[in-house]
Symmetry: C2
Subunit: 105 residues, 2 copies
């Protein structure tokens, strides 16, 4: 068993978001992204099978999707997307999210 305190590893960068690898295995990859207000993970996609979840741990922002889609990203909101669907995140306040990718890429 692996135990991680996400509040314990939280950090920010002034130039771009902070990324922390929580866990990587053959089953899934789990990452913690921390954004300063205004920072974003730009819309992107990969031509691979699989899905990802993006859970808002703290703060608020917007989930970004294809064709200008914008969905609320409040604390406790979760977005599930195919890896090959365009997806992104924009922070309105300082914001911490947990991304789980299965199978891992």
């Amino acid at each position: 068993m692996q135990h991680t305190s996400l509040t314990g590893v939280r950090a920010y960068r002034d130039q771009g978001f902070h990324k922390y690898l929580v866990h990587e295995s053959e089953n899934f990859k789990i990452l913690n992204f921390n954004f300063r207000a205004g920072q974003e993970l730009p819309i992107h996609s990969h031509d691979l099978d699989g899905e990802l979840s993006i859970l808002v741990l703290d703060g608020r922002g917007e989930f970004l999707g294809e064709g200008g889609t914008v969905l609320p990203a409040e604390t406790g909101d979760v977005l599930i997307s195919e890896i090959r669907e365009p997806h992104g995140v924009r922070a309105i306040t300082d914001m911490s999210v947990l991304v789980t990718i299965a199978p891992p890429i």
Copy 2:
């Protein structure tokens, strides 16, 4: 893309915890468990390949492991376990957790 507000679907049961299926696919299964203070998901395991993560969304409790192992389960803590390793959760306060199982069982 699927968007879910976990605070929006939060519910409790007086007899045992409340379980909400957020998502199920060939890649992973995502469940939200809500516990009243004192409720627990007893230690269990399945003889199957794969892993799971248990993230504390709100409240606090304890992660339970093999041989009486007890680890803190504060908001923002995440436990990663093999599906075949004994694992469980006990709520000290009302507590909401997100469980991701990959591959799904």
